[in-house]
Symmetry: D3
Subunit: 330 residues, 6 copies
């Protein structure tokens, strides 16, 4: 995107998003989340910032999450800006800035988690800074770095994490690393309590740990898909707290989200994931950060990428504008 | 398919469809929808004609709808002719003729829509002519040409359109063309009223227009998937009318129909789409035309192609034989 | 996998499965179902044996089932051993041995079915021998050979087959062979009665046959997906019988199982398939054999392979440990 | 393709091929090889007939050849009719008729080979009949049936076969069948001598057999790719003979033909294959039949399909019009 | 990429390209061609500008060129900046600015060509403006717009076009449009003479036209691949001229470039394409514009995208730094 | 593979490889390289051992090398055992044992390299132990561990490495790790001298280093593909030395090897790679280890996997049986 001063070099400059562009526009918006026009994507005015972390280093099966952020960005440009739930174009209203992607650091998973912690900390205390930081992964281990950065940048006392996931991710160590994707929740617990939803893969050790740890609450997939009862528990859990919502896409059902490393059957529907997001955004004191991780794009299949992009779009709107009463018919 | 007079040249000629072929058959049926045998596929005897329109010219994302008709034809050859809902082989009973594909015209979208209008008009007034014309797309903009051809060939007064779609398609113009796929419903409204089902992508301008236009009725996806209440409205809408049913496959849920340009989550199930078709075929005065459009085949994935082919098969049967009472168990 | 005596040649030997491996392990488990460690995979100690039959010879559309067994084995290595339903690692408890794959025999489908019959017979009467034989296909026609081998190895009087399938497979002959995949159930009926679940593709002749044959009971997909009423019938059908459960994966809904030759819409959910397995394993006198067939892997799409692997894992546990009361929340 | 008498039903009928179509044409040509217009595709006037045999039943690895004929037909519609080598549109000049595909027979490979033999025999002695029969496979075993049918229909004394292939295919039996794809040349040798080109996969037994059999001449890939010396031998071999040219596409180099079951490195270039075809068509007394077999389409990759289609197009021209002197520059 | 003034908001800012980045860099470069750092990508300092035109509207087979520019940009980020031929990092030296993509205009192909003409004209006369404009397609028809814009912006008298292509593209009209991809060279001839290289698909009409038109010189693929003799002609043709080099990627051999609509066998090698570029850049008076068009990415296959990106990289260097003497060994 | 003592449990046991199996065989060979029968695959008798290392942790683009070893093993089962160059079945003669895969260690790249070093050291000094160790990768960084293990297990004085690669891999550190795939050769140089062949991607820093380091000799791709002159240098380099040959598959040309992370155009042909292997195996004092790394399988494309498998097969034969005089014609 040519900065403002180069405008002279361009026949006419972009003003609106794809769906609504004026006839005079000649160039498409810059390469950013949702194809936002320059003025709404400027960091000074954007309340939400998107940080891509194309990091993948501890995956031994089903590679490809390093391509997740790019796939979400590409698909996001097809998301319609208007949302009937909000009766407006929420992203245009709040502004969304897209940061360049973090460089991966391969010295060790630890070094990378540290780098993420620093970057998140610096962003959250920077000037300007976002109200809402949206992280796109990348493998789930990165969430531990995000949680730490968030905790260090702000008072950690009222922080909680809500995790949508197929896997408990409560291992102390996995395949030689304490920062494996399979240890994500265990590392986050060192920062704050965690409410897990959609779990359907857990090891014996994790199950034992779960039974003794009061900081973690697990809603298995069977319960989460079968009824909405757990949403009240969730509301209680987040009430008055600042929430970091972390969504491992394998928490969703493989029918709508096959593009993950281990697509466990029996996962959450699109509507149930939005239920969770609405409860969090309504009941919590704030949602300063959320992430959507573990998208491993399937060549030729755009549906999962698009769903991930739309999910990010919805949560940005819910977090910054608040959930609305359900729209009535037509 | 060698015409009748060449039979001498062939050891033995095809007589039945794959599922039921006699042992003496040596050659497979000709390349046509459902692999119909020559006698049931002859235009003079076939009540339904299939017209492939592999046209795609205004798509800026998710290309591939030009390959949709061929993919549906190929998959249709695996559809079993017998249908327990009807207790017979409906297509064999009514006969299905497959026309060669329309040439695309690339002078302008307008020129192509005109060509479609002429072709549909000529087919519907030709001799022989079909009772039911089935159009396979191609991008959705072609439906405007079909609607025009239908209106010009027959009295347009009692015509209505029922549209299954994820997108409202009510834009006046899009990316420089009034005949973009995103304007399909807007162009059809110039011919007759429209009842939209499954919408979950609509722009601000379209939403405003919808609020002021009495000729369009929109059932959003949330309502259409959540209950069957809207089916009564639909029945009232089509009562006594001749219906052109236009199905943009992105109206279906991405879990069963990922092979579309923008696969919006939260769409219709297979059963709900059949509900719509059954209500239309039961309540309407007639269904002279329907289309299934926007299939963009995913390499290696046959399920969406097969679903589209079976959907066409079912609607042909429903439109010409009428819906049956629900089959009882086994 | 190096046999025990070569251990000296290896720095350290594998002891546990991926999810729980000790730090001292250097090598991964051998290439077998679930990546079982040597001691739990030894035929003498394993109660379940897995037999891959990568056979495909009568398929005229949607090839690829010959690659099914390998895909299931590969995916199975990612299945978590611990299962909350059982509160343990069921496969580690019962032991699972993986046989080398059967050679295909291409002299004729008949010859291959005979070879399967002999192999199954010999395995079931061998020493050691499995309590539960798990067959991975391959095309469905192989199930006739399995049924015969089972009947010949044991008293056939109390044998019944429960079939999950989209197709009735009741043809006497198809495309020139009585051992086509489309004749699987017809051939099995020559051995014992069959209870079919999920059928939504049946020919006129099959429907007629079904009406006159008292040995076959068909639950159409509509009934099987709409309610659980048929499960009582199923329980009665299997009560006191030894059951061979044969699962053609196209019985499942294409949304979760697109990797089959003809993915008919309107199929069973993951939960409903488990319901069937639970009823069978609870009510039957025994489940000496089950198969999972017709997986035709889609390049790049691992979700169906993983689902098939997990399905096998679950049924092994259900068959040998028995279904448990439903786990209560968290 | 609607037969001539239905023309009234069509607004305007197709007359020319894609590349040259008149403006008045509304419909595309029928579904046939090269998209030939009706008059040039009529069996009475077409000197070349194309017979698709989508047969695959003895393949234990790399499935998909049953989809080969359809893929070649689809790609052929994009082949430009004009050929500078001939200075004309050769297919339009000689006429090409496309037969419906042969039904596979799955009773046994033997039964299928017999069915092919009968079909080829009947076609070659039918009335009308082709000067040149072009067979599209399907697995290579079908060539034995073609050779038999050809020999039975015409005096076999002056028949020879020229085989382009990566594999010697000289096994007496393979995986239980004498009609495996790996036995193709062995079976053909029972009919006439064979000249093999491009071989780079041969078993010990085949190598021994080759050393003792005077009816087979093998040019290994190394020789065939390294120089053109073998072309003189080939010319001598075919001089005064009628030649059945059988092209297993794995004879070509995987760089241009990856879409085969076992893509052996070190194969023939496009130009070398044409060299062979030119020598055969120039030196032989006639080429009554040729086949192109073993295309196993790779999803998403059209280049191999297109190459196969163009290869068929070129050999039709070479066989019926004779090779031309090399075109001079521009 | 956050503009300079936001630097405060970022922990540390990007300075070098991937291959050579300093340890202090935290963020990756912005999304631009070659992942150029901000200072080398600024329009004021960049001698080369890249203009993506993801336009595709007249393609009836092998869709996907609209995804070409994005695929080239994505792959370019992996191209190593250092080039041994030049002994430096050429793009870093000359600077490369990436413009946002042009919006497609779907009113008609004519309208889009006009829009391209205007955009190119405005860019070439803008302030700042590039020395070299690099266009990424998109379908080949866009080159006519580029040629017109170039001619209008600068004196057209000394302009010539060098075209690498499999198709002559000399049709006056195709599928209803004078601006079809199949008419690209015909339209360009209205602006200036054309030297075509690699042609192996030409219609009868085009061949006739070619024979009578002195402004077009055609080097068929056979000649272009067989020897380098034509390079002298080419040098004469471009001597003293300003050259617009237009590369339809189907001019390359399908073995290295399968990702095109009609991958004709017998095309140019990587080295031969560079030979052409070197001759042009050495002999011509200047190369103000070049394009690389018709990349239709194949899902899962990155090699063609990478080759296209590297080709652009090489020609930028050749055009702005001039060809070097061949590097000597090691 | 059932150990010998279980034979009783199996109807008949596997004895020969696919291509030559006896009729009495019922089961396929165990899952090992080339599908070797039990007796030839036993570690005590096998002169060559294959060690899969599915390790990938420092790749930021083009993931998938962790799936390389499995893909090579799967494809190897289709490699014909007989090799005309040797006039025998070389692998059957020398015996090939396949070890289970190494577990990845994700603590840090350093920890993984250490683990590899230990494993290789222990294998080479074990009892039994292989004459030739074949490593299948995985990313190229693993070769440093192999080199260290080899040097520590045997006198390192006469060790040299021959590297086929597109990239110099001479970086001191890359993306935060000294054990990145981009540092492979730099790390190996710490053990012994390196002769690089096929390089066409090198950074400015690497080029500088290369100029000053006497232990590395670089043959750029241009030289390596253009003539065979460098083979004499290579012969001198390896004369009297023990050689570790490391083949990064991206050294090959993308036309035959597209399945790598960065497929640089202009690479080595199949024949040239074999030339290198032949020179090494003829001139060197011994080849105790070689590896084939960086295969990143492309879904649906088997040709690259098969080529890699056949390459391993050929080098095993060359290393243990020695190169033969070129086979003479037929």
């Amino acid at each position: 995107m040519p900065p403002a001063k180069e405008d002279a070099a361009l026949p006419r400059k972009p003003r609106r998003t794809p769906g609504n562009r004026d006839d005079e526009e000649v160039f498409q918006p810059a390469w950013n989340f949702l194809g936002m026009p320059a003025d709404r994507a400027a960091p000074e005015r954007a309340r939400a910032w998107v940080l891509p972390i194309p990091y993948e280093a501890t995956t031994s099966y089903g590679a490809g999450t390093r391509d997740g952020p790019d796939a979400i960005l590409a698909a996001s440009r097809q998301v319609e800006q208007f949302d009937p739930e909000f009766g407006c174009e929420p992203a245009m209203r709040v502004g969304v800035h897209t940061l360049p992607a973090l460089w991966p650091v391969f010295r060790s998973p630890e070094a990378m988690i540290d780098a993420i912690e620093r970057a998140v900390h610096d962003i959250l205390l920077g000037k300007p800074r976002p109200e809402l930081l949206v992280v796109l992964g990348g493998e789930h281990s990165l969430s531990a770095g995000v949680a730490r950065g968030l905790a260090r940048a702000t008072a950690p006392d009222d922080l909680v994490v809500v995790q949508i996931d197929a896997h408990a991710d409560l291992r102390e160590e996995y395949e030689g690393s304490r920062h494996s994707h399979a240890c994500a929740a265990k590392r986050i617990l060192e920062v704050c309590p965690v409410f897990q939803i959609g779990i359907r893969n857990i090891s014996e050790g994790e199950e034992r740990f779960r039974g003794t740890c009061r900081r973690v609450r697990t809603v298995f997939a069977e319960e989460a898909t079968g009824s909405t009862g757990f949403l009240d528990d969730l509301a209680r859990f987040v009430r008055g707290k600042r929430v970091y919502l972390t969504i491992d896409l394998d928490g969703l059902d493989p029918s709508i989200m096959p593009a993950v490393g281990t697509p466990e059957p029996g996962g959450l529907s699109w509507e149930r994931v939005l239920d969770v997001a609405r409860v969090v955004c309504r009941a919590a004191a704030g949602v300063p950060v959320f992430d959507v991780v573990e998208l491993a794009p399937v060549p030729g299949l755009r549906a999962p990428d698009f769903l991930a992009a739309k999910l990010v779009f919805k949560i940005v709107a819910l977090a910054l504008l608040g959930p609305r009463a359900k729209r009535k018919g037509s």
